[in-house]
Symmetry: C3
Subunit: 276 residues, 3 copies
Amino acid sequence: MKQDLMKQIGDILKSIRATKPLIHHITNYVTVNDCANITLAVGASPIMADDLGEAADITSISSALVLNMGTLNERTIESMLAAGKQANAIKIPVVFDPVGAGASELRNKTVERILREVKVSVLRGNMSEIRFLAGLHATTKGVDASDADLQGGLEIGHSIAKTTAKKYGCVAAITGPTDILSDGRRTVLLQNGTKLLSNVTGTGCMCTSLVGSFCGASKDFLAAAAGGVLCMSLAGELAAEQAGETGNGSFHMAIFDAVSKMTAATMERRAKIEEV
Amino acid sequence: MKQDLMKQIGDILKSIRATKPLIHHITNYVTVNDCANITLAVGASPIMADDLGEAADITSISSALVLNMGTLNERTIESMLAAGKQANAIKIPVVFDPVGAGASELRNKTVERILREVKVSVLRGNMSEIRFLAGLHATTKGVDASDADLQGGLEIGHSIAKTTAKKYGCVAAITGPTDILSDGRRTVLLQNGTKLLSNVTGTGCMCTSLVGSFCGASKDFLAAAAGGVLCMSLAGELAAEQAGETGNGSFHMAIFDAVSKMTAATMERRAKIEEV
Amino acid sequence: MKQDLMKQIGDILKSIRATKPLIHHITNYVTVNDCANITLAVGASPIMADDLGEAADITSISSALVLNMGTLNERTIESMLAAGKQANAIKIPVVFDPVGAGASELRNKTVERILREVKVSVLRGNMSEIRFLAGLHATTKGVDASDADLQGGLEIGHSIAKTTAKKYGCVAAITGPTDILSDGRRTVLLQNGTKLLSNVTGTGCMCTSLVGSFCGASKDFLAAAAGGVLCMSLAGELAAEQAGETGNGSFHMAIFDAVSKMTAATMERRAKIEEV
């Protein structure tokens, strides 16, 4: 089981590098440079375009669409919807990162509207964000998961991922100390990563961009989501080994080094992955 | 005197790391990633949200508000005002960086409007910007202080800081070769830093974010502003020692390394600080 | 011929560092931080201002204007036009980077409008973008040149650069494996660079910012454009030697190191340049 999944993830990585899929992002201005660079580092090609006048056009020439509401604003909400609908029409995957869901009315309403009007392939968020989407009580602290929401443990997390996946007909990917991914039937657990990833802004956004890149090169969105999340976690581990002691700046840069050097063999060797 | 102040600054740094205050930024898209990362590096938690539909909501869950008008635009001016008023209402500090004040009518009018409608706790700018706010003749060269404005010397700088502080009922923090901070009664001088800081964009913005982080963990805004400014200057010194010879890219990255490794002991040992 | 040109380029570099020209950018939010930092690294001073309420004012105090439509949006199109007209009025150079021309109707219309209403000094783009502007068939893959468009070879590239330069009365700078620059009469070929530059986002944008910096310190826009393009290519070569093996993050940072340490002597020694 684990070997099958890792074989599949490795093949997707190779396919990204062979086909260089174009990944359309409508994302935030805080971490957008990192998102573009991580997309390039894994071997895909990023394009960032958020004006309503061209959003759907750009989606039309892309292999996957990433919607990230980190710095949500009125102008780009409509662009996200137009791009999302176009992605649905041409049947390319939509990866949605509901940054800060639960933190403001604007975010809550926007999340609901996007999930109502766009068919999402993968939903990637932290435990507070996904709890909110599952309709559960969530306490959020800005854009990070709250400690309270992380208390539930694996049992509850597993159930939340499954519920969310079924509710929205997508893969739900909850990232955190343990990453929990479910498509409603199969569930994958990942135990890789490092706490240092939370010391750099945008590691969640970058993870979503990697998931988008993997989805741009595969029809199996659970494997693709697991591949993207694993790639980010392993980049964190490798960057921590390389530069964790030196400080946040060196660690940040080493993440891109690690992703650009990532191989299927490294992923298979280091993965702490199981299907449950 | 110096020892008391350094003790206080060291305690604020420890408090930031213990409480991880949420710092709401409405800032510019040029340096926003660096602002978020420097906030994380010092131990606080950044959240960037600039849409009028949620600005005040996000301020409500934060410990301090940073307003930076680096890439001012009509859309976010209203958000800055809404967030600023909310910060005043819930009594959290507002740190304002009037980037490029004096460089265009739009900036000049916006600065005046913000300072009229929002009670600011700390005003952080270069000599040209603060001269403009003090109502003095200022010659600005874009977003940097002009040489002419720096000629005045410490005597005049001290007087400008004091005047500005009294005029707006805030701490005025003029950063430059010597940093001059005043709350209208007490004045603090800082002689740390390196010229290399002006070779990287956003070191002023990052300084403001550090001041915001310190203000999010203290009620004494003069000490907090001094702590934030000193932290930035020392990060510059340490980064210069580490990577100054290598070039701008390595120096830039080393700033984050230095802030993430900054300790109260390092700050106390290296500070060239005096109260006058 | 080569020696004359390299002497001229070296002199422009020295002039940038002596006079620190202010370079007004209206650019995209993906690579804007890198554009500002590369401008500082070469010795010029960047200012990013894109609101219609101040765009022309900021142009008025600048030595060159860079227009980059990487993340085009309705709001900034008008600002680009206002700034461009002001630059024409006060006779400072306009450097235009038509990012993604050919990729969407919005981009195509905007490119045409800017080139109709603003007199551009240097047009910097990849082969797909410039083919589109020359009125030739172009196949674009998002923001990168397509392989098909690169097939033509030097003979055709030379002719496209010349045609475009004459059509718009400007210097046309096509960057790619060989960089081809023409003012309609003289043509310069550059063979420096490294494939690694395409692994980092924004190296095209940074190249445009360097061209803007060189144009801010010279009246000879062909030499200035060649200087900017050469500076970027050599930074790529030097960064590849320094950090190419380490990975994308280290390579990215080393670009800034290299530009900040660039000298006229290094440029002359390494340049593979010819006038044809």
